[in-house]
Structure formats: structure tokens, C-alpha cells
Amino acid sequence: MRRGSELRSSLVTLLMLLPGLAGFFGLFFYPMMVTVVRSLRPEGQQVGWTLEHYITFLREPRAREVIVLTFVLSISSTLCSILFSVPLCLVLRQKLRGHRFFRLTMLIPRVVPGLIGALGLLLLFGSRGWVNLFLIQFVPFIDEPVRINYTIPGLILFYTWLYFPFTSVTTLSTLESLDPSIEEAADVAGANRWQVLRHIVIPLIMPGILAGSVLTFMAAFGAFSIPLVAGGNYRPLSVEIYRQIDFTPARWSAASARAMIMAALQVAFLTVYMRILRRPTV
């Protein structure tokens, strides 16, 4: 009797899990498998196996450029977000007047579509945008508009603008769950503010910073809309994939092979990153 009810209970659990699992397998796992199979088929055919799409792409001299560009953009924007988020969170933590407003401001890049962000940034940093007007009028020795759009530093800036909230929100929540008595103890023990920050606060919030930066990295690595409209001649992997199917005849197999390379690179990088992350800090 008891066994029967247990069985029934686990059956109910399974039944309830079913929609989620169906969604996962139908809309993620199966498409991934289709992509894998497609990448191994000759172009436009349903039979036969080949590795040519991987080989031709990796043999192209541009392939290395594309992959390096993707990593350069995602890693440097991750670093920039960390460098920007930590001071911001330390300031926001003090709960100055109006801190709620700034907290909300922090989330804005995440709730608006990336396209709109890209459009606004292109306008702001364009040769007729406010940033260049400001530089020309108020900074000596700059008479010509500085080229920011469609350059690598510009792209890093755009990526950082769009993806820093992942890092800053995680950092802020770690910072706020910190026990204030630890810092007080350090203070009583005679450490000055800088020492408290350097030896107590930063090491303690490091796991939060790293966890947030992983999210920023993943988002930046897979970024699609920003490089699509603001990349110019610089095409990271995601845009490179889209270019394969953008024109007719669409090269689905070539696109799938690139997508698999992208996913593999991301998983490989994340594995390395997680290893570093698991290491005790300091």
C-alpha cells in the first residue's frame, strides 16, 4: 500500500516535470542535434557524412581572425565590466541619496533590446554625436571627430555598456550580503579604509565578481545584435554564422559547422574559467 502511494507520488512528479522536459528536448536539444547533423552533411543534401565544412572553415585564413576577434571582444569587455562594476557597486552600497535611481539605471541596458542600445550608442559616439562635439569643443588638440564607431575599442565599449549589468548586479548582491561586522573588526584592528578594501572586502566578494563576469562573458561571446549593426567590417563568430544563411542559396551546413565550433569554443573556455574560479582566491 505504502509502496503504491510512493510510486504514485513519483509518477505525479514525473508527469509534472514533463512539460519542462518536453520544452527542453523539443526546443533546445533536438534543434542542437539537428545543427550537429546538418554540419556533417554535404551542403543541401540529406544523406552522406563529411567533415569538409569544418575543414574548409578552419583552413581559411580569416577563420583565425574571426575566432581571435570573438575572444578579444568578449574577454576585454568582461574585464572592462569588472573594472567598472566594482567601484560602482562600492559606491552604491553606501546608500547615498538617490541610490535607488542609480540601481534602476544599472538595469536599463538589460531590459531594452540590444539593437536599440546599439543604435543609441552609434548616434552618441558618431562623428556628429555629443561625445565628439564635447571632445572637439572642450578638449584641446582635438579638432577632428575621433573615430569610435566601427572600431575595436568602440565595439568593446558597446559590449561593456550592454553586458556589464550581469557583473554589477551579482557583485552588488554579494556585497550587500557581506557581514558588516567583519569590516568593523578590521577597522577596530587598525586597518585603514584602503587596507580594509584591499584585504577584506575584495577577496570576500571575489566569488560574486567572478560568477557575474562568467555571465557577462557568455553574453558577450554569443552577442549577435550589437556586432550585426555596429560591427562594420568586424564580424565575430555569431555574425559570421548568420552571414552564411543571410543570402540565397543559404549555406545551412556551413553555418551549422561554424555554430558547432562556436559552442565548442565557449564550452572549452568556460571549463577553463570554472577551474580558475574554483581555486580559492588570494
Binding site: F24, V34, R38, L107, I108, P113, G114, G120
Partner: protein, 278 residues
């Protein structure tokens, strides 16, 4: 010592000034792009080294509405978002319940598996989704585009709802039973009011996700199911920056309203993170 006090005060004030300057720069950096878009969308003849547009006009909005058929596109976007929200909620409630209230072997692993679509770049599985949908003739249908959105919305719904169900206190349910409420009554008068905020917040999150989704839409849309983000992208390619700006403003206002509306009810931080310890 007394002499030093004004000096200390000045230092403290300077610190404060520095902090506020930093915050101001941060806010400017975030808001200025939108201000530029807004000005671009209402300005005429804004060329050369001018800080502000010389003439104001609403023509670009008229253009956006007439030429690019914004009302129809908005309707598409809303239908797709509503379908995506409905499907994700229907998936999220039972699965979230199972995650929140039942013992499942390997729960953590299963949860990270469910969250995988949010970690792998969408373009990787969007390719597969597009090919499957071509075969099933789901391309260019509202249902198809919404289904593609569910791939990325459902993990959100499951995550938020499992936290909601986990937070449901067993003692409250027992108290209801002790007081003589039958299961139906318990459900409507006790459980529903307790989980309603969670369901609402999951619906809001999935709505904004679907409303803003670009990659998956781009792979599955057709001429009858153009959504606002895709239309904005097309307009950007056409090079009419003023009209694009007007459309962007139309697109972005609902997201901002939602953000300011929900910030007090639910922690908007959830919009960003959601992974526990990654």
C-alpha cells in the same frame, strides 16, 4: 587639531563630490544614447556640429506609422509575446511545482540542464529551430515564432516559479486543512493568493524577453510575422536613421514602463541573473 578640521571637512566633501560625479557620469552614459535617439526621432535637419536639432517635427513618427506599418507590426509582436507567455507559463507552473515541492534525484543537475538554453548562444540552436520549423511549416506563423521564443522564455518561467513554490510554507497549508478547508478551497483561497505574485512576475519576465527577442525571431519570421525588433533592424539596414529612431522609441517605451512598474513589486535583479552560483 582645530586648524585641521576644515581641511578634513573639505576632503570629505571632495570625496562626496567625486562619488557624485562618478554616479552622474554613469547615469549620463546609460541615458544619453536614449536621449540621442529621442532627439533624432523628433528633429529635422540635424547635421553638422549642432548640439540640438534646429527644427522639431513629428514627421518621422508619421512615416513610421504609415510607411512601415507599425500598428500591424505591434499587433504581431503582442500576439507573439502573449502566446509565448501563455505557453511558458503553462510549462513553468507544473515544472516549477515539481522542482519546488518534490524530491527529485539530481535536482541541481536537472535545473542547470533546463537553464542551458540561456547559456549557449541562441544563434547555435536557432539554426536548428529554423530548419525544423521549415520542415513543419511553422515559419511565418505567429505560433511558430512564439514557440521559438518559448525555448528561451520557459527556463525563466521555470526558475522563477520553482522559487515561488519553494517559498510556499507547508504550515500554512496544514493550517488550512486543520481549519476544515477542502483541497479546492485551500487552492483558491490559500495557495493561489500566495503564488500569484510569482506567476505574475514570471509572466512579466517572459513577456519582456519575448518582446525584445531578436535572434530567434530573425531566424523564424516571415513577411506576416515581422516583429518590432526585426523591423527596427531592417529599417537600420535601409539607412533611414530618423525613422529608425522613431520606431526604436515606440519599441522601447513599453519595456521602460514595465521596468519602472515592477521595480517595487519584484526584485528586478532577477531580470539579469537567476543562476545560483552558476
Amino acid at each position: 587639531m582645530k586648524l585641521l578640521r576644515p581641511y578634513f571637512k573639505a576632503v570629505v566633501n571632495a570625496r562626496k563630490l567625486l562619488v557624485y560625479t562618478f554616479l552622474l557620469c554613469f547615469a549620463l552614459l546609460i541615458y544619453m544614447p536614449f536621449l540621442m535617439i529621442a532627439l533624432k526621432s523628433i528633429g529635422r535637419g540635424w547635421f553638422g556640429r549642432l548640439w540640438l536639432p534646429p527644427e522639431l517635427t513629428l514627421d518621422w513618427y508619421r512615416w513610421a506609422v504609415e510607411v512601415t506599418n507599425i500598428p500591424e507590426i505591434t499587433k504581431n509582436t503582442l500576439i507573439i509575446a502573449a502566446l509565448a507567455v501563455a505557453m511558458s507559463t503553462l510549462i513553468g507552473i507544473p515544472t516549477g511545482w515539481a522542482f519546488g515541492r518534490r524530491k527529485i534525484p539530481g535536482k541541481e543537475l536537472l535545473m542547470s540542464m533546463i537553464l542551458l538554453p540561456r547559456m549557449i548562444p541562441p544563434i547555435a540552436y536557432a539554426l536548428g529551430v529554423a530548419q525544423i520549423f521549415y520542415r513543419l511549416h511553422l515559419i511565418n506563423t505567429h505560433f511558430g515564432v512564439a514557440l521559438a521564443h518559448v525555448a528561451i522564455c520557459a527556463p525563466y518561467a521555470i526558475l522563477v516559479l520553482s522559487a515561488t513554490f519553494e517559498g510556499l510554507d507547508e504550515r500554512v497549508l496544514e493550517a488550512a486543512a486543520v481549519c476544515g478547508a477542502n483541497p479546492l478551497r485551500t487552492f483558491f483561497h490559500v495557495i493561489l493568493p500566495l503564488i500569484l505574485p510569482g506567476i505574475l512576475s514570471s509572466m512579466i519576465f517572459t513577456f519582456t524577453t519575448s518582446y525584445n527577442e531578436f535572434t530567434l525571431t530573425l531566424m523564424t519570421y516571415g513577411k506576416d510575422t515581422i516583429t518590432l525588433p526585426v523591423r527596427t533592424y531592417i529599417a537600420m539596414g535601409e539607412g533611414y536613421w530618423e525613422v529608425t529612431s522613431a520606431m526604436s522609441i515606440i519599441l522601447v517605451i513599453p519595456s521602460l514602463i514595465v521596468l519602472f512598474m515592477i521595480q517595487r513589486q519584484v526584485a528586478p535583479e532577477k531580470l539579469v541573473g537567476g543562476f545560483k552560483g552558476v
